[in-house]
């Protein structure tokens, strides 16, 4: 018990201590160099702005909207990426028909599509979901393709020796075997989906954290902008932690360090 407490202290005290130092420096040092509080607000004023935004009822709703856009976009993007990867690796014809264009499209910076999508789909949350989906689609696709093609020959021999159908091979061996790869893609995709939702909101939206950020920018409320950045960081951490949780839950078998840590 005592040992555990000291381990906890050892783990958490240094980062907390470091954080306090950074906040203190940020709070007091800029004033010494006469940096305008308007351009670089102090942590205390950022917290004040955060409270103000919350108090005006702007925080929770906008947070939930951007969360919904990112999550829905991520879900659509990654599910369709896994489906396309399935088609591409199951059929040589589909692979030869699609791969050159997928590779070509992948080279395009996806955010460049955002204005077009807002024009096509409108300024509602649908356009943000679509942008988030497109931007998180590719890292998942590439990793899923690699995952579906990286199976030990003997595992497939085992399935073939049992005269397993192609769907059985996929369901029993190929798909579970690809999960470490797919999750590598999902870890990247989830972060990109927030970027996608935010870019969509920058281009045209009446709600969401991106919209809020722009409005505060117009009003030169730098402290408020910092507060929104803080909220965005929290959003990113929540979504990343969600994927991480699923990762550890489903891919426990590929991570001996996670599972056998107590042996």
């Amino acid at each position: 018990m005592n040992n555990r407490l000291s381990m906890m202290l050892d783990r958490y005290v240094p980062p907390i201590f470091g954080g306090i130092i950074i906040l203190l420096v940020w709070e007091y040092v800029p004033a010494l160099f006469r940096v305008s509080k308007l351009l670089l607000p102090s942590p205390s004023s950022v917290v004040g702005s955060l409270w103000l935004i919350y108090d005006r009822g702007l925080l929770v709703e906008n947070f939930l909207i951007t969360l919904l856009e990112a999550l829905a976009g991520f879900a659509c993007g990654s599910v369709s990426a896994i489906f396309v990867a399935f088609l591409v690796t199951r059929s040589l014809l589909v692979e030869r028909m699609l791969m050159p264009y997928l590779v070509g499209f992948q080279a395009l910076p996806k955010v460049a599509l955002a204005p077009l999508i807002v024009v096509w789909v409108g300024i509602g949350i649908e356009s943000k979901i679509l942008i988030a989906a497109i931007i998180s689609f590719f890292p998942v696709l590439i990793n899923a393709i690699v995952g579906f093609s990286t199976v030990e020959a003997e595992k497939l021999d085992l399935m073939r020796s049992l005269v397993a159908s192609r769907w059985q091979q996929f369901r029993i061996v190929i798909f579970p075997n690809s999960l470490p790869f797919i999750f590598a893609g999902l870890n990247v995709g989830i972060v990109l989906s927030i970027t996608g939702a935010l870019v969509g909101e920058f281009i045209g939206a009446d709600r969401g954290l991106g919209n809020l950020l722009l409005q505060l920018n117009y009003n030169m409320d730098i402290s408020g902008m910092f507060a929104v950045l803080l909220v965005l960081a929290v959003l990113g951490i929540i979504l990343y932690a969600l994927v991480r949780f699923l990762h550890v839950h489903f891919v426990f078998w590929a991570k001996p360090d996670i599972r056998s840590g107590s042996n």
Binding site: E154, R160, V173, S260
Partner: protein, 263 residues
């Protein structure tokens, strides 16, 4: 030679060549014939690269012969068949499944009754000495235990024929000896036809009714020896004079003339 009656597996004048990347052909196996009666235990012994694994894969229907015929029950083998159980050099466990679920893979592929299959899987785990390990994951078991699980899996769908490709090659000598005796016990309890590929002369003699000696590059059957040793056999069988005599005879095939010094 006339095809003799009562042969379960009949390999006749089989040749196998592989095409290398440079386009040249490499002979893996030439003029290979081997016949196995129902319920016989046959071992194939030979040095690395003599095509013995290739022959086993051809009998399993995982590879096709370049020439000659392989028949099981009088039917030509052109693709895998479900009355064969395969044991590979490595256990080929699916690490995301528990041992029980790994053993159940053939039942799942063949869509056997789930409840009856589960009972049978439990019985098989007891048979191979893994009672109580069904809920463990493969990486929690030793190599020998995993290989036993692989044997249980190969027996799951009650195949007539068991094909084993150096199943104990990766195990230490002591575990290997124990596994040999265990395999004999399992074979006697289930009366299946077994073909086992091995490097080990002792293993081959201890287990089999008949030993086929292969010579390398290109592989062919050099000699087939009947092993007239009493059953049931035990560790003591090794000191039987017949055993010692046969072992010497087999070993004489593998004696290599010393290579001229190349240091």
């Amino acid at each position: 030679m006339k095809p003799s009656t009562g042969m379960l597996i009949d390999v006749r004048d089989v040749r196998k060549q592989f095409r290398s990347r440079s386009g040249t052909y490499m002979e893996a196996l030439v003029n290979t014939s081997l016949s196995v009666q129902a319920k016989q235990f046959v071992c194939i012994v030979g040095p690395s690269g003599c095509g013995k694994s290739t022959l086993l894969r051809m009998i399993a229907g995982l590879e096709t012969a370049s020439a000659g015929a392989i028949k099981i029950d009088g039917v030509s083998v052109t693709s895998p068949r479900r009355d064969i159980g395969l044991v590979f050099q490595s256990p080929v466990m699916l690490p995301w499944r528990t041992i029980l679920k790994n053993v159940l893979v053939p039942a799942e592929v063949l869509k056997l009754d789930p409840v009856a299959s589960k009972l049978r899987a439990q019985e098989l785990l007891t048979l191979v000495g893994l009672d109580g390990f069904g809920d463990r994951y493969p990486d929690e078991l030793s190599g020998g235990m995993r290989q036993r699980a692989a044997i249980a899996r190969a027996l799951m769908h009650d195949p007539k024929i068991l094909l084993m490709d150096e199943p104990f090659g990766a195990l230490d000598a002591l575990t290997r000896e124990a596994m040999n005796l265990e395999l004999l016990r399992i074979w006697q309890a289930s009366t299946k036809t077994v073909i086992l590929v091995t490097h080990s002369i002792e293993e081959a003699l201890l287990l089999s009714d008949k030993v086929a000696v292969f010579a390398p590059r290109p592989g062919f059957v050099r000699e087939v020896i009947d092993v007239a040793l009493e059953r049931p056999r035990s560790a003591a069988t090794r000191s039987d004079p017949t055993f010692i005599h046969l072992a010497e005879r087999l070993r004489s095939h593998f004696e290599v003339a010393p290579v001229a010094g190349t240091a």
